[in-house]
């Protein structure tokens, strides 16, 4: 049977506030267990929540970024269930009146197709703590540092039809929240986690099939793999005439399979009700509008500007605007070199290659944008050629110093003395008389292709330092005899 896959995603983005959603405890990753907790985060008797202003502002920013309705009155509700890392026995979340209502965003697939994915809602909620399953005297340890950390849960419509679309959507959300500066986007540390709701239906059928929910997938790659595996699992069941059980599943990246989380099964009556310790959050038009006015440039806007301002191709603009740090790096180069094409080629080429090899994000690049710009300027002023620049970049990457220091230390300054170049060209011609004769006997079209050989010989002789722009006319002159 030909199946259509239907996917809706719930993304939990941890908001980059200094303090927690409902308490004055610090938010941070990797602190000693239970050292970033207060009465409120520990659910001590008599503790009461007070709402963090900044979390509200961040949620509204996100709402604007996806052109969503902003909930002018939003209400916190309690989601009741027992779990040891949920200290109050309920999670404070939002149910009927979320801070962000319906919105949408466009994703661009690799083939250039643009698809609009609906956003159902985004709501504020507090995170739970962590259960540590390493053996503590045969018991589980509870660390509540993460308890009450602010999360924005972004719920998509079931508009996603493939693993590729899902990844493109998550990347777009990632890009938006990092652009807005409301989430650090660090998936490895759990700052962004994704729940995948997935079902299959025969192509052409309008009703949805029974779905499963895969919880807490925390990398782009795992999202893609989890979806492929789950599609395969569901298709196998359906093709054997079986039925999908609506349940929560967990993706195991080691085995590349999803498995049922039975422990979550029995607590499905969450008894939501408005939290009586918190009051309705009322926004004013002025407040909402002021946030809209101060919204930073978003990825799609930035891409459009790059195309317009720097005459970049759609593809280049898309790649360079995908992350705010990449775009900022690029624009620093452009500002210093005044050459967008050169800057784009180097960021997308050599720099990306080095980052990939070292598995680094651009913010952690050992070569800063300012230092990189110095290198490009040396290409522009003919101090070095492009080939040498690649070697210099590698040395800069390895920490050997600035572009100028390396060029100086290694004596890589281009030869621009025409007399010296003429001498080099002459010796190449002398050493390759057979090729020279062949060249002279050839048609002009053929000659154009053959000149590359002599060029290579000259560069070799100059140890890459000859300025190719100067070599070409001299070669042509001397070859003609």
């Amino acid at each position: 049977m030909n199946w259509e896959v239907v996917i809706g995603l719930e993304i939990h983005a941890q908001l980059s506030t200094k303090s927690k959603l409902f308490s004055g405890a610090a938010v941070g990753f990797g602190a000693e267990p239970n050292t970033q907790t207060t009465l409120v985060d520990l659910g001590m008797p008599g503790a009461l929540p007070v709402f963090n202003k900044e979390a509200l502002r961040m949620a509204v920013m996100f709402g604007h970024a996806v052109n969503a309705e902003i909930g002018m009155t939003s209400i916190f509700a309690r989601k009741n269930y027992f779990y040891p890392d949920l200290p109050k026995g309920y999670q404070t979340s939002q149910m009927d009146d979320p801070i962000v209502g319906k919105g949408a965003l466009d994703i661009t697939l690799e083939d250039g197709t643009v698809r609009r994915i609906g956003i159902t809602r985004a709501h504020l909620e507090e995170d739970a703590g962590k259960s540590l399953h390493e053996d503590f005297q045969g018991m589980t340890g509870i660390d509540l540092n993460r308890s009450s950390t602010p999360l924005l849960e972004i719920v998509s419509e079931p508009d996603i039809r493939s693993a590729k679309e899902a990844v493109a959507y998550v990347k777009m959300i990632h890009s938006i929240v990092t652009y807005l500066g409301i989430c650090d986007g660090n998936m490895a540390e759990g700052s962004m986690r994704c729940d995948i709701n997935l079902s299959l239906r025969p192509k052409g059928q309008s009703e949805y099939g029974t779905r499963t929910e895969i919880k807490n997938v925390n990398s782009f790659r795992f999202i893609e793999k989890a979806i492929y595996t789950e599609i395969e699992r569901q298709a196998d069941i359906l093709e054997d005439g079986g039925k999908i059980v609506q349940e929560t599943r967990l993706y195991d990246p080691d085995k590349n399979e999803t498995r049922s989380m039975r422990s979550k099964e029995d607590a499905n009556d969450y008894r939501y009700f408005p939290c009586p310790d918190l009051l309705p959050v009322e926004l004013t038009e002025e407040y909402v509008e002021a946030i809209r006015q101060n919204l930073p440039e978003l990825p799609t806007q930035k891409a459009a500007r790059f195309i317009e301002q720097y005459k970049l191709s759609d593809y280049d603009a898309g790649v360079l605007s995908a992350s705010r740090s990449m775009a900022d790096y690029f624009e620093t180069l452009v500002n210093k070199t005044k050459d967008a094409k050169l800057s784009a080629n180097w960021v997308m080429g050599e720099l990306s290659k080095l980052l990939n090899q070292s598995q680094l994000e651009i913010v952690n690049s050992p070569v800063s944008a300012d230092s990189f710009a110095e290198l490009l300027i040396r290409i522009q002023d003919n101090t070095i050629n492009g080939k040498t620049a690649k070697d210099v970049l590698q040395s800069m990457w390895d920490g050997e110093g600035s572009a100028d220091e390396i060029i100086e230390k290694k004596g890589l300054v281009q030869v621009t003395d025409t007399a010296a170049i003429e001498a080099m060209v002459q010796s190449v011609i002398d050493a390759n008389s057979a090729q020279v004769e062949q060249f002279r006997a050839s048609e002009p079209d053929k000659q154009k292709k053959m000149i590359g050989f002599f060029m290579g010989q000259v560069m070799k002789a100059s140890q890459g330092k000859a300025n190719p722009g100067l070599v070409t006319p001299i070669l042509q002159k001397l070859l003609q005899g």
Partner: protein, 486 residues
């Protein structure tokens, strides 16, 4: 000495007729003598009390004392007190020593009061008789075979018996007013949001409110001056400015319009109580007030509305007592579920478990609209009744409870009989308005309280009215003959 009011004691402390340490020692020794027959205290904090009293004496000597400096008081055992056992009358918290202080107790500490101990109460404030305490029932000082009322029964009994000058209580559905009425003392439930709930173990968050319990309205006013006011730690606390509750006590009542809801004085009210209250109301007429019959048509619905809303909130509020971070944990749990199920079943008493289950049911899928939402809609109708009535009159008067204090054990077998006791007090909490219980006479030797209800944030008015009444009556000065029961 045990019957003197705050102003008189403060004067003697300042004139050095007595020291706070002497006063404290004297009250502590009275607690030792009398409380075994009442059981009004869960813990007596003798050492810290004497230390605080010594500090108070220094402050008095330096001339920087306030009106409450050196005055011995007690707190209901649901206010978290730093370093002092806080049980909420429950086995669940039998070993809980909070490393933090509630706003109410912290402000009273700041005001210089001397804490003698923590008073007994119905477990988690659920009850109207103080029989639901893990620490045993409290007895009424006027007759130890009778209940003191609840849930702040320990505070009421301790004040009535002269074991403390004043005490704190909390009122979710009448828990300050009803025991005040049963024990013949004065108690005020302030407007919801007037006093911070921070550090008060929550029963029903949208109804709970702390307030003073003392012999007179004047003493309550001194306590209110210390505890009322905005607190950044409680989102539901009001930023509205407070009054000076003592300064306004002496205003005349000329022209005061009193509303008497016909639903409060119908045939269900015991005739003797009705007569006692009508006599009290005549006193107000003598003071210049006029009387008008009014109607609060949805009064009867306050029972069902309250007994859905309060248990619903409680079922969620009490989920944190799970044996993980504090409180009771069962022996040798075989797994996580077993730990939850047994710790909670062992830690909570029957009434608490019953209410948790009622609330769990009312919030559960398929029943939420018919129970919780319906109850909240009715709540609005009840509030509207008061808003309408208080547009016509300044205050509303009526009974606090349908009877005087009843016999211990007489209502424990019928699961809902006790709930019906709350008919005159619940609607006030649902609406969030302030209300008092003021001693207004006796019926068969047991005190009868008059309830005075006012508009939002009209605590100063209520205290003023009660104080003026107490200037012309002496019901609040009557003392139980403790020898009889003790």
């Amino acid at each position: 000495m045990y019957q003197q009011n705050i102003a008189a004691l403060a004067k003697q402390l300042r004139s050095k007729d007595i020291s706070s340490v002497e006063l404290t020692q004297s009250f502590l020794s009275r607690i030792k003598d009398v409380d075994p027959s009442l059981n009004s205290f869960i813990s007596v904090t003798e050492d810290t009390a004497l230390n605080t009293a010594a500090e108070a004496d220094k402050l008095i000597a330096s001339g920087n004392a306030g009106p409450l400096t050196g005055i011995p008081i007690a707190h209901k055992d649901l206010f978290c007190t730093n370093g002092i056992l806080t049980t909420c009358g429950s086995k669940m918290l039998h070993n809980f020593i909070p490393p933090y202080e509630s706003t109410v107790t912290s402000r009273l500490k700041q005001a210089g009061t001397v804490l003698l101990g923590k008073t007994n109460m119905d477990e988690f404030a659920m009850g109207s008789s103080n029989e639901n305490s893990y620490y045993g029932a409290v007895k009424n000082p006027w007759d130890t075979t009778k209940v003191p009322g609840g849930s702040s029964g320990g505070s009421a009994a301790a004040v009535a018996a002269g074991l403390v000058v004043a005490a704190t209580g909390t009122d979710t559905g009448g828990s300050i007013r009803q025991p005040a009425s049963f024990c013949g003392i004065t108690g005020l439930k302030p407007t919801y949001g007037r006093v911070s709930r921070f550090g008060m173990v929550a029963f029903a968050s949208s109804l709970d409110q702390a307030g003073p319990m003392a012999r007179s309205a004047e003493d309550c006013a001194y306590i209110m001056n210390a505890i009322a006011g905005f607190d950044t730690q409680d989102s539901t606390s009001s930023e509205q400015a407070t009054d000076d509750y003592v300064d306004t006590l002496s205003q005349p009542l000329q022209g005061l319009k009193i509303g008497l809801p016909k639903e409060y004085f119908d045939s269900t009210l015991n005739d003797d109580i009705k007569n006692t209250l009508m006599t009290a109301i005549k006193e107000f007429e003598k003071l210049g007030a006029t009387i008008k019959e009014i109607s609060l048509p949805n009064l009867k619905l306050s029972i069902p509305s309250y007994y859905v809303i309060a248990p619903s909130e409680a079922s969620s509020n009490l989920s944190r007592f799970d044996g993980v971070r504090y409180g009771h944990r069962c022996e040798n749990p075989k797994d996580l579920l077993d730990m939850y199920m047994r710790s909670r079943a062992e830690g909570f008493g029957q009434e608490v478990q019953k209410r948790i289950m009622v609330g769990t049911y009312a919030l559960s899928e398929g029943y939420y609209d018919a129970y919780y939402l319906k109850a909240q809609r009715i709540r609005r109708l009840i509030k509207q009744d008061f808003v309408n009535a208080l547009a016509e009159v300044d205050v509303i008067m009526g009974p606090v409870a349908p009877t005087t204090a009843f016999d211990i054990g007489s209502k424990t077998n019928d699961p809902v009989a006790m709930y019906l006791e709350d008919i005159y007090t619940l609607s006030v909490n649902l609406a969030g308005i302030p209300a008092m219980s003021v001693p207004a006479g006796f019926d068969n030797g047991m005190p009868v309280g008059l309830q005075i209800m006012g508009n939002y944030f009209a605590e100063a008015k209520l205290l003023n009215i009660a104080h003026q009444y107490q200037q012309v009556t002496d019901w609040h000065l009557q003392n139980p003959n403790l020898a009889k029961g003790a």
